[in-house]
């Protein structure tokens, strides 16, 4: 039965997340935007208290809606919250039962702990199949060499906690995509070094670093999925596709993040207007609406449209239905909607929007990343296009 009602437990969890965002994120939002790379220690400790409420991350509708609330609070701080993150999602999606137990257990312990994922390299971003980091098998170990950039929470995962990073490397460059495998590198492993911490446009409370692997040795069992390279021919990408399934789980979460930032801006605009006595008159014919009302209603529709697509993608995942198309749809729409909504908010609010006295300009900067990481809007559009056309990557480049 089509239903949009949340259970009382889900409602309570979402409300708790909202309260947390209001009390512990909003008050320090500006500070950590202006003090990039400073560790929000107290906030991290407070976040640990959330675990009894189901944690920061998780799969399912309520978890996604909690992410929306946290990002309504502050998207950068949300990414600084301890948890398995994208690395954890990859372990969960393609690890064995033993691996899930071994790698994810730490996130349930008392000390803050982060998970990260390392894919992008200096010379390639969206073209993930072009990565040149290598993993070579030597007896019972893999030896990893290469450089990864833009690793979200990489420093917290590898230096500040007993965390882990899922690193994508090729075991056979000639095999193309089929040779690409994810490996779990735990904090404290010799041969991995955190370098350059990036200075960013937004989400500044989130650490973004370069990881350098120099003869980094990890146990053979740290490979996620099969070590075999199915080299029937170069177009056999079954392994790659399976690995990419991680994104089907994470893209709707990025969509939820985008939606949270967008709603922060939307709420602020509506509150500001209401203080001036301007109420949006829903139900009026468009010829009678003011330009301002039309703008706000458009922002609100964009928010709704993105949220509906996000909810569907998350719901499908929770029902174990394949959601590759729907998760990319949600990601495209939410990334773009949040970008547009926050930009419009700055425009509408004029001097209040552009000023660092308020948070709107920050939300505009924060929002933009959602249209870029975990697959740019364009890459996700390509995924959607191939799916609806039933085209291979050769048929639609």
């Amino acid at each position: 039965m089509i239903d949009f009602e949340l259970s009382p437990e889900e409602k309570a969890a979402i409300e708790a997340a909202h309260k947390f965002a209001e009390e512990f994120m909003r008050p320090i939002s500006r500070y950590y935007d202006e003090h990039e790379h400073e560790e929000p220690e107290e906030f991290i400790q407070k976040s640990m208290g959330l675990r009894s409420q189901g944690g920061v991350f998780g799969l399912g509708v309520a978890a996604a809606l909690r992410v929306e609330e946290f990002c309504w609070g502050d998207a950068g701080l949300m990414l600084a919250m301890p948890g398995p993150g994208l690395g954890g999602a990859a372990v969960f999606a393609s690890g064995t039962r033993e691996q899930i137990e071994r790698f994810l257990k730490r996130f349930g312990e008392d000390k803050p702990c982060w998970g990260a994922m390392a894919m992008t390299e200096p010379h390639c971003g969206s073209d993930t199949a072009a990565i040149s980091t290598t993993a070579v098998r030597e007896n019972n170990e893999w030896v990893i060499n290469g450089e990864k950039i833009f690793v979200t929470a990489g420093k917290r995962a590898m230096e500040k906690s007993n965390g882990l990073t899922v690193v994508w490397a090729t075991v056979d460059k000639s095999a193309g995509r089929a040779g690409m495998k994810p490996f779990v590198v735990e904090a404290g492993t010799p041969g991995v070094k955190v370098e350059k911490q990036e200075k960013k446009l937004g989400i500044r409370a989130s650490d973004t670093v370069t990881l350098v692997f120099d003869n980094c040795r990890i146990p053979f069992e740290n490979i996620l999925g099969s070590p075999e390279v199915r080299k029937v021919d170069k177009t056999d990408t079954a392994g790659f596709k399976k690995a990419m399934a991680t994104f089907d789980a994470t893209r709707p979460i990025i969509a939820a993040m985008a939606i949270g930032v967008a709603r922060a801006a939307l709420d602020f605009v509506k509150e500001t207007l209401e203080k001036e006595g301007i109420k949006i008159r829903y139900g009026l014919p468009r010829q009678k609406l003011t330009a301002l009302e039309r703008d706000v209603m458009e922002m609100e529709s964009q928010y709704k449209a993105a949220k509906m697509l996000m909810l569907r993608a998350v719901w499908m995942m929770s029902q174990f239905k394949p959601n590759n198309l729907e998760s990319s749809m949600a990601k495209v729409k939410a990334g773009l909607a949040a970008t547009k909504i926050t930009q419009k908010a700055v425009e509408i609010l004029g001097p209040l929007g552009y000023s660092r006295k308020y948070l709107v300009e920050k939300w505009m900067r924060d929002a933009k990343i959602n249209d870029i990481f975990e697959g740019t809007g364009q890459i996700n559009m390509l995924v959607v296009a191939r799916r609806i056309l039933d085209f291979t990557r050769e048929q639609l480049k």
Binding site: M1, G283, L284, Q287, L309, V332, I388
Partner: protein
């Protein structure tokens, strides 16, 4: 629990309507658009599906099915996918039946609902739109003035579907500035049905202008009697119906353009192999889904008897824009061929533009 799965029963109805749309509507819609006529046989077959009458309680001779806006929205999309003009014709009696069913007095229900439980299509309609650019359903120029035991209606209406053949018309008019509905039976003195309108699209649907000149109806004909009606809810039920229909039209155009783009070869490969084309299609697919889900949510709220003014208005405006963009792209992707009436995309393009105008012309 959040869920995006229709019930088994809803799915059965959707499949049935989709089958009808494919087998019947899609076979003749071009001819109908050219001739301005819909075969009566098709209308009767549709009537036989019980889409209008199924929700009429047994006490009034109906099937006693559940009244669900959500189910209505699912049906409206499929019908509009088949053809918008026919969809509006088929569902036209609902413009009268649903307000009576939801808000009519016992006497009104007893008098009028049995008319729609027969084996044959019975036309009835509603008159809301007025011929001016800034028409506002909540600020009508048509007036209703009480005079003893009667109401006197004065004003002009347009885009009244099937007005000429309707047994009864629900005329919306401003009574002391508030929109109320008034039942006007065929042949009531003072009701003049003008010539059939000529529109840019939905050409197979017969729509008319009406003139009400000191048209008197008994006071019992006020929808809901002394209590009146919850016009806002009726408007919202109409908004979600039209939004769903916009989704249906957009989907028709999108599917056609997608198949065309996969087979039309230019520069040695299908045009869909170019991102310029592929991305237009992908974006359309995303917007169609988003609009559909927004319509579902608003319909779900209406079924819960919640005030859905915000959601219904937002999705209606969004759908108006979405369907125009989608059908425009349909024409664009076919290029010169899209402009030729051998292909249906120009028809959907004309129909798509209408949604910004079609207030209250469909209801679920």
């Amino acid at each position: 629990m959040i869920s995006f799965s229709p019930t088994e029963e809803q799915q059965m109805i959707v499949n049935m309507v989709k089958q009808f749309a494919t087998d019947e509507m899609r076979k003749v819609y071009r001819e109908c658009d050219e001739s301005g006529e819909i075969p009566q046989r098709l209308i009767e077959t549709a009537w036989g599906l019980g889409l209008v009458s199924s929700c009429i309680p047994e006490a009034y001779g109906g099937a006693g099915g559940e009244r669900s806006v959500l189910t209505g929205v699912l049906i409206a999309e499929e019908l509009a996918w088949g053809d918008l003009a026919m969809a509006m014709h088929i569902l036209c009696p609902s413009l009268f039946v649903l307000p009576i069913l939801e808000m009519g007095t016992e006497e009104q229900k007893r008098k009028y609902l049995p008319m729609f439980c027969g084996a044959k299509f019975t036309a009835a309609t509603a008159a809301l739109i007025e011929p001016k650019f800034n028409f506002d359903p909540n600020a009508l120029a048509t007036t209703a003035r009480k005079d003893g035991n009667t109401y006197i209606l004065n004003g002009e209406k347009c885009y009244v579907p099937l007005a000429a053949e309707s047994e009864v018309i629900l005329v919306y008019a401003a009574e002391n500035g508030q929109t109320q509905g008034f039942i006007v039976e065929k042949g009531t003195p003072g009701l003049e049905i003008k010539e059939r309108e000529k529109n840019m699209g939905i050409k197979a649907l017969a729509t008319y202008e009406l003139v009400l000149k000191d048209c008197r109806v008994p006071k019992e004909n006020r929808l809901g009697g002394d209590k009146g009606c919850d016009f806002n809810r009726l408007l919202n039920c109409s908004r979600v119906a039209l939004a769903a229909m916009a989704v249906g039209v957009a989907k028709a155009s999108y599917e056609y353009a997608r198949e065309y783009a996969k087979t039309r070869v230019a520069f040695g490969e299908p045009i869909a192999s170019r991102q310029a084309i592929a991305f237009m299609l992908a974006e359309t697919a995303i917007e169609i889904d988003a609009t559909r889900l927004m319509a579902w949510e608003a319909a779900w709220m209406l079924d819960k008897k919640m005030d859905a003014t915000r959601e219904a208005s937002l999705v209606k405006l969004y759908a108006d824009d979405m369907v125009m963009t989608a059908t425009d792209r349909g024409v664009q992707i076919l290029g010169g061929h899209g402009y030729i009436r051998d292909h249906p995309v120009e028809l959907w393009f004309r129909n798509g533009r209408g949604f910004a105008t079609f207030d209250g012309m469909a209801m679920v």
